[in-house]
Subunit: 185 residues, 2 copies
Amino acid sequence: MASGYGAASMDQIASKAGVSKQTVYSHFGAKDALFEEIISSKCESLLGADGMHLAPDENPEKMLFESARAFLKVVLHQESITLYRTILAECGRFPELAQAFYRAGPKRASERLAEYLGKMVARGTLQMDDPRAAAGLFFAMLRGDLYLQCILALRETPSDEEVAAEARMVSAAFMRAYRVPASGD
Amino acid sequence: MASGYGAASMDQIASKAGVSKQTVYSHFGAKDALFEEIISSKCESLLGADGMHLAPDENPEKMLFESARAFLKVVLHQESITLYRTILAECGRFPELAQAFYRAGPKRASERLAEYLGKMVARGTLQMDDPRAAAGLFFAMLRGDLYLQCILALRETPSDEEVAAEARMVSAAFMRAYRVPASGD
DNA sequence: GTCTATATACAGATAGAC
DNA sequence: GTCTATCTGTATATAGAC
């Protein structure tokens, strides 16, 4: 994960695993098969367990804020960032890994939020034409400047306070865009 | 650009350039120096010329829509996507390239938009606490699901119509979040 | 099953002729 | 300045002993 597909040699891998190279080949057959197994496994373990608890009876801005914080916590984690970089670097050679990543992460999270937003619209708590598009925008806003700087390795992993502030800003902006307007607006 | 730093061999590069390997070495000295020259040059040529014409006297939603379209046109271009993937893959080995990318692209665009948004706030056309944060959210929304799918090579480059629709959706959402509320709201 | 030793290929970089 | 030929290291993958 630290070196990427090309730079990580089978010698290094065997050495770090404390076994010989032949043992690695006995278990996985070839380098590309080992790589696919590692990456698809990481997609599930890192992105699979989302911490979103979208209770329809709670205050929606609070729910959005907590979801935002949980999402940022996951995607800003160093392992997720390394995973994302690795998949992007090799998505030409291993297209199925990009799909596994997309489905386990962004797609799943967006679908769950869209379902919640749909309920809020039905209740008259929020107002929007397309809950799926709105959910996409919500997570897109969370992949903002802070995320970009972390992905590009231009800054350290943010503190919990910075993450909370970012989550607060995004959930507030989302609410301004999709709240139910007061009468006269 | 098509292979990335590790997989692109100096033999291939020399062959594609129609010269011998020694000629490449005479001009650039080493592989890393050649790589840095290519990438930083691409950062400027691809991201430097932004097509944003932010006229303060025009309708702000129209200005935002046109800026959104121009931004998407650039970042969804195949060359920009390849550049971004390459920089992410090598940002550990070449941190200064990530900086050059960030400054030439996201930072520059965001600063220009923030300046425009500040003017709109001063005029009372828009309403927001932090124009820089709002500008960041605007471009973050444009790096949404469509962008993510292109980056991950999960779909083809979108048509002009799809780009326009995405730009329309984002500029509309931005306006809903930052418009000046009517009296009574 | 796991090891050491090796086959084969190709990488980045350089020497020296023209 | 540009070429061909070569040095040196290291990669993936395999053979065969224990």
